[in-house]
Symmetry: C2
Subunit: 167 residues, 2 copies
DNA sequence: TAATCGCCGATTAATGTTGTCGTCGATAAG
DNA sequence: CTTATCGACGACAACATTAATCGGCGATTA
């Protein structure tokens, strides 16, 4: 059980979209080349991010992607939800509604009407994880990277994309 | 992306092991019959629970399973970990160590030495989920079920297993 | 008008999940 | 002591999902 690699691709790529000039874009080709990941697959991830309203795509020659809103308004959870979907990690298959006691029609109806404590507990736990992710924004991530990485490497990274940014 | 159905099977079945007389056991056959799930697959789940030290198996005729410790000492997370394994939901593939800048040997070494902020954030979020699950024990679950389910259905359930409990 | 880009659906290979089968060793009952 | 019953375990099969590719489409720019 695990999140798909697309979450990692997406989050890492979005970082590079934060600091570009307004109205500039970065293409899939640049992003995949810089990260050393599959171009076609990354393009699928960005389709999802576009549908989720996190980035805006510019088609045509010199096209590419840019953030659709302030990096302050994009949380980790937004990205995870866009890539993985909103379905919970614990997916209750309602096995309690299938038990021996449910051979009694009346009991079955009653069981189906009431929620399962186990399911609710699992969903509560997931919600706690989501809340942590909701509190981490791309802006926060960008500042954190400024703190952790060397200024030189940050500069080199921006240089790479500046050379190929489509204005 | 989801937890396997085994988590649901396991948690639901463990409930029935809480209230049985000491030294009594319940067999896979009873558990799977009551829940209406595959006998052979459920047996695999219980193998994992046994290895994790959550239940104790009694082989041979009239054999079965019983809790290996107080239901107060068995948390939801213990069960999830036993069935799903301890690997994190977000599995970092170290894509940052594969970037364009890492073509510079020196930079690559530096990158590999430092942790990724994104990965740490995701793990922190997961840890928050785990902590919720760690705080919910089987005892708590049992009391909650007493509160939520009808006394009659609880009684019927215990009756079902009492009829077939192996002493 | 031709080259370049994102978009989208079909497809594929690899991997993981769900579940079965058959064999083994342990054990209680006859 | 034999036999039927149980859990343990590994092989395997069916199915679903994931990671990734391919090819055609429409938009855009030079
Ligand atoms: S029925 Fe799905 S968790 Fe209880
Ligand atoms: S390298 Fe894996 S999350 Fe950053």
């Amino acid at each position: 059980m695990q999140y798909s690699i697309g979450v990692e691709y997406g989050l890492h790529c979005l970082v590079y979209l934060i600091d570009i000039p307004p109205d500039a874009t970065i293409g899939i080709k640049e992003l995949s080349a810089f990260q050393g990941v599959s171009e076609t697959y990354l393009s699928k991830i960005f389709s999802k991010l576009t549908k989720a309203g996190i980035v805006v795509s510019v088609p045509g020659v010199k096209g590419g992607y840019r953030l659709s809103k302030s990096p302050d308004d994009i949380s980790f959870w937004d990205v995870v939800e866009a890539v993985e979907g909103a379905t919970p990690i614990f997916q209750c298959k309602k096995i309690k509604d299938n038990s021996y006691l449910c051979q009694d029609e009346e009991y079955a109806a009653c069981s189906k009407a009431s929620p399962c404590v186990i399911n609710m507990t699992m969903l509560e736990a997931e919600e706690s994880m989501r809340n942590v992710l909701r509190n981490k924004t791309l802006s926060w991530l960008n500042e954190e990277l400024d703190r952790v990485l060397t200024p030189q490497s940050r500069k080199d990274t921006r240089q790479f994309f500046a050379n190929s940014t489509n204005v």
